[in-house]
Symmetry: C2
Subunit: 223 residues, 2 copies
């Protein structure tokens, strides 16, 4: 009976974390949409969504601590719960990065519009996709999918470096583009950090799943 | 007897985390020293120190998980151990940020030296000092000291914004300063994120200590 309550607590934890991930991904999508579309309403929506991730983070943390306190967890559950706490912290930071992007969106609104040689839309799609896949790998306990996330991170790092180099070159040749190019650099770095958080999550999943492999037999219960 | 072994495990956890914090702080100091002094040897030292923080992070995590598995922890110990895991993750990220700074140091070596209106040395001292105080507040379970860290974070945010504005202005007026000014912006943002991690740690300490206050009586054992 207690075991069942514990088990449903684990399920709730996984469900809450999945919701949190959808919210964090949405914050990034909205932030980049606000930046590319110069849309203050969408930027303000990001600030609202980020406050929601902050409350969700605290609640998820408390849920995890309550589960740890509820009974002597088995090793496999322990790894699952501690992985949840780490993933939770990463997702909350993704919300912070969405706010950084939304701040740049608001700054851009007052500036002349400029076509920049920086495909931030594509970079955002890749970074947000990494968050989604990292969470999918977590929900499905799929280490292979988690490893695919690590490979995507290299692509995002490359995009960030390319944008850095091309924005520096633009600023040298056109001083009037400095503010807009600088904002693009900041947005690209924020997206690169989103990808880093997805990578952290994927690494936690690999650690958790490998722990399960070692402890074969009790492995199924937490998945 | 088991309780004593658990207690010494908690002490070891605290000791390892304190070492980790000293190492992370050193990585930041070295990174900024390498950047300001254009010194490749010091930059390479940062890469070595960062690898050490990566191994330390994994060991500290394992130690925390082993403690959670060892016995049914009391609420106060549970909060302490989970706070350690969060602080550990923050300190590892500080190491990553030191690497970002060291990379900018290596990039600067090939560029003409330039006097920039950006006091990154002062900003680094403040950010590294925040890490030290955050850890002191943790070791002493001192919520007041932790709250002082939160106030310092506002000062670092201000320095970051000032550097951003003055570097943008420099780039507009002197296109030849673009690369150096852009590096200064990246270093300033890295330091601002170091300060954010110190803030996260301080918040964890406040949460942990307040948990102790509520659970008066059993409060002393984990301190």
């Amino acid at each position: 009976m207690t075991r069942t309550r514990f088990q449903s607590g684990l399920d709730e934890l996984k469900g809450r974390l999945t919701e949190m991930s959808i919210t964090a991904e949405r914050a990034i999508d909205l932030g980049v949409e606000a930046y590319l579309g110069r849309d203050a309403d969408t930027a303000n929506e990001v600030f609202k969504v980020e406050r929601a991730t902050n409350s969700a983070e605290r609640e998820i943390d408390q849920l995890a601590i309550d589960l740890l306190a509820m009974q002597q967890p088995m090793a496999v559950d322990l790894r699952f719960i501690t992985a949840c706490m780490k993933i939770n912290a990463d997702l909350e930071r993704v919300g912070d990065l969405a706010v950084n992007i939304a701040e740049r969106a608001l700054a851009e609104i007052n500036r002349p519009k400029m076509q920049l040689p920086a495909d931030l839309g594509r970079m955002a799609t890749t970074a947000a996709g990494m968050i989604r896949r990292a969470l999918d790998s977590f929900v499905d306990a799929n280490a292979e999918l988690a490893e695919a996330v690590l490979i995507m991170d290299d692509a995002v790092d490359r995009m960030n470096k390319e944008i850095f180099v091309s924005m520096a070159s633009l600023m040298r040749s056109n001083p009037q583009a400095v503010d807009q190019a600088l904002d693009a650099v900041v947005v690209a770095r924020a997206l690169e950090r989103v990808a880093d958080h997805a990578t952290n999550i994927a690494e936690d999943v690999i650690f958790w799943v490998k722990g399960k492999d070692v402890r074969h037999g009790v492995a199924e219960q937490a998945s």
